[in-house]
């Protein structure tokens, strides 16, 4: 029998709750269980939410719903707002020209003012994609529960938080009560051991895992990523991995916090300071799965098996090593053949064909998956000394104002410009193409974002998901290219 000590952190007061348990527990259980206000008999848990992130697209109906009930935001200090999904990535100093988009952004501003919610509006030095902003401002912390009306909220799990995407009715729930009702998911651990090869990044790791499990392979589960390859990732790499958890259906993904996490967090604006830091640090260090903790499902992979990845179809599970060929008819289970054929018809690709050398028209570097400074550094390092192919339209979109500033300060913008690229202004941009950054019908885009669904980057657009290095290699060659050729 082991004695476990849990710290409960509420409003910066620290309580020590001691209890004994016979069972070794997982990281996920520790964080989830510490936030259960009540278990509804035969139903979901009432889960307390430490941090609620909102943006302009999935919040307006929640605010109006709240108002219709005659309610106010219960804990406005636990909510942070930033417009990101529906903003232009040029001329952000001008009023937004699209009327509906402008209304949506202005509605967010009005709702935040009315409810006393802190907002990083357009041109604010902290503005950016909600999942880039949260960590860089120190809002995201280990052991927290975090939600946002956006499925890529799983990003914050990189810090050992339980973070997941919710719908607008649930956004309204959090506004009204700072809680949501949620059935506890099952637990999955994905272990990747070994060392990633040269030219293989966190994005390739996650695309590899998703290709193994399939687009619904983790539905119903919350994933913990473990293993030496995961441990050796930077925080930005870990965010990329956790970000993509939803692409195999998982509610979220998380990684136990360690020195890499604490090093990243120390000194961030909203991270605890002084004595409070030390107290929280002691708690954060307890946040890991105990030896012998049980998972409902486990997978193990070897880092050495992963090469630069690319997708060839219309869901993120349809990925493969860049030197491989699209599966041949004989290699596909009969039951899956119709949907794969439909997907390839959309892409205008043939069963069994090679992906290397396929024509590319657009390159997108950005999004909550790969719009951070390390991504821009990687892209710039590869294109340095080369020129963008004239026929390629490239959108290099920083994840936040802070990333933009850093790219300028580090001289990355000069490198990009010398190679024929320009840095745009922050936002979700061509990841979901709500703004003007749309890939035209029939065109191929090598994109560092997270989804290759039909029409995702614009009606009729064809998306190939890849890492920043692979996107860079496509931009300077005009075709799908193995980035290792340039390393």
């Amino acid at each position: 029998m082991t004695l476990y000590i849990y710290y409960k952190l509420r409003n910066s007061k620290i309580e020590f709750t001691k209890y004994t348990t016979l069972k070794a527990t997982t990281l996920f259980d520790k964080v989830w269980d510490a936030h259960v206000v009540e278990h509804v008999e035969g139903g979901p848990d009432i889960v307390y939410i430490d941090k609620h992130l909102i943006h302009e697209v999935t919040s307006p109906q929640a605010f109006s719903g709240l108002e219709a009930r005659g309610l106010k935001v219960f804990r406005p200090e636990r909510t942070i707002a930033t417009p990101d999904h529906n903003v232009p990535t040029v001329n952000q100093h001008l009023p937004i020209s699209d009327e509906q988009s402008r209304t949506q952004v202005e509605t967010l501003k009005a709702n935040c003012e009315k409810n006393k919610i802190e907002m990083y509006g357009l041109n604010h030095p902290n503005n950016g994609i909600v999942h880039v902003v949260g960590p860089e401002q120190g809002h995201t912390q280990p052991g927290m529960t975090m939600v946002c009306g956006d499925s890529h909220t799983s990003t914050h799990g990189a810090f050992g938080a339980v973070a997941f995407g919710i719908g607008t009715s649930e956004v309204e729930m959090v506004f009204a009560t700072q809680c949501i009702m949620q059935s506890k998911p099952m637990k999955m651990r994905i272990t990747v051991d070994g060392e990633l090869s040269k030219g293989v990044s966190a994005k390739d790791l996650t695309l590899y895992v998703i290709a193994q499990l399939g687009t619904g392979g983790a539905t119903g589960y919350f994933v913990e990523y473990a293993g030496s390859a995961v441990r050796s990732l930077t925080m930005e790499g870990r965010m990329t991995v956790c970000n993509m958890s939803i692409e195999m259906g998982a509610r979220g993904g998380m990684i136990a916090p360690d020195e890499t996490t604490f090093e990243y967090m120390k000194g961030r604006t909203h991270a605890p300071k002084g004595e409070a830091w030390e107290e929280k640090l002691a708690y954060w260090k307890t946040l890991k799965s105990d030896d012998g903790a049980e998972f409902d499902k486990e997978y193990s992979f070897k880092a050495e098996d992963i090469e630069p990845m690319i997708t060839y179809g219309t869901n993120p599970g349809m990925g493969m090593g860049i030197t491989q060929s699209i599966p041949a008819e004989a290699d596909i289970p009969v039951s899956e053949l119709p949907s794969i054929k439909q997907s390839l018809a959309y892409m205008d690709y043939q069963l069994g064909s090679q992906i290397l050398g396929k024509k590319v028209d657009y390159v997108f570097l950005g999004s909550c998956t790969n719009g951070r400074i390390e991504d821009i550094r990687a892209f710039a390092s590869l294109v340095k000394g080369h020129k963008k192919v004239d026929a390629i339209t490239a959108w290099i979109v920083p994840g936040s104002k802070k990333v933009e500033k850093q790219a300028i300060e580090e001289g990355l913008v000069e490198v990009l410009e010398a190679s024929g690229f320009e840095l745009r202004q922050p936002g979700c941009s061509a990841c979901l193409a709500m703004n003007e950054d749309k890939v035209p019908a029939g065109k191929y885009s090598v994109s560092t974002s997270n989804r290759n669904f039909e029409g995702r980057q614009g009606p009729g657009s064809r998306t190939l998901l890849a890492s920043p290095l692979t996107a860079a290699a496509a931009a300077i060659t005009g075709v799908v290219t193995d980035p290792r050729d340039f390393l």
Binding site: G216, I246, S339, R456
Partner: protein, 192 residues
Amino acid sequence: MSVDKFTLLKTSCVPLPNENVDTDQIIPARFLKATSREGFGENLFRDWRFSSSGEPIKDFVLNQAEYSGKVLVAGKNFGSGSSREHAAWAIHDYGFKVVVSSFFADIFRNNALNNGVLPIQVSADFLSSLFNAIEKDNAQKVIVDLEKQELTYNNESCSFEINPYKKDCLLNGFDDIDYLINKKEKIQDFEK
């Protein structure tokens, strides 16, 4: 916003055998610019339903007059991808009360339930025989009995799962916020 009470349903079906239907297909991102919940039904499955010039695409099931009804029968892994509740709003606004599939994405399932749309998960075999029955008879009726947790067509019947709390919500038209507001005191205690 409380939801409609879910009552016994006898209706024909609309079949959509495609697998992995993501929420970007259910409602493309460019239609998420509205600030209200209404009117998303007209853009449900927009890019499968209409050409780029706005002409109905004849092959798509929502444009085929022989199929109608309040139940959408869909291929496995329905509703994957984006958390946009607009997908559930579009399905509800179009007039569907039930989506039947052999597998649902988690966030979509919650969003549907929060809007009074019942996701019914059935076995792959049941789904495939239901598709066959609809193919044979476009007007094939199904009966959805939430009280008994039973989906029936012809002489075929299968039970489905739903947690008792959510079932109670649907039958009575309650929503989670009604429930949570009554727990305010407990939540405040938890914060201490």
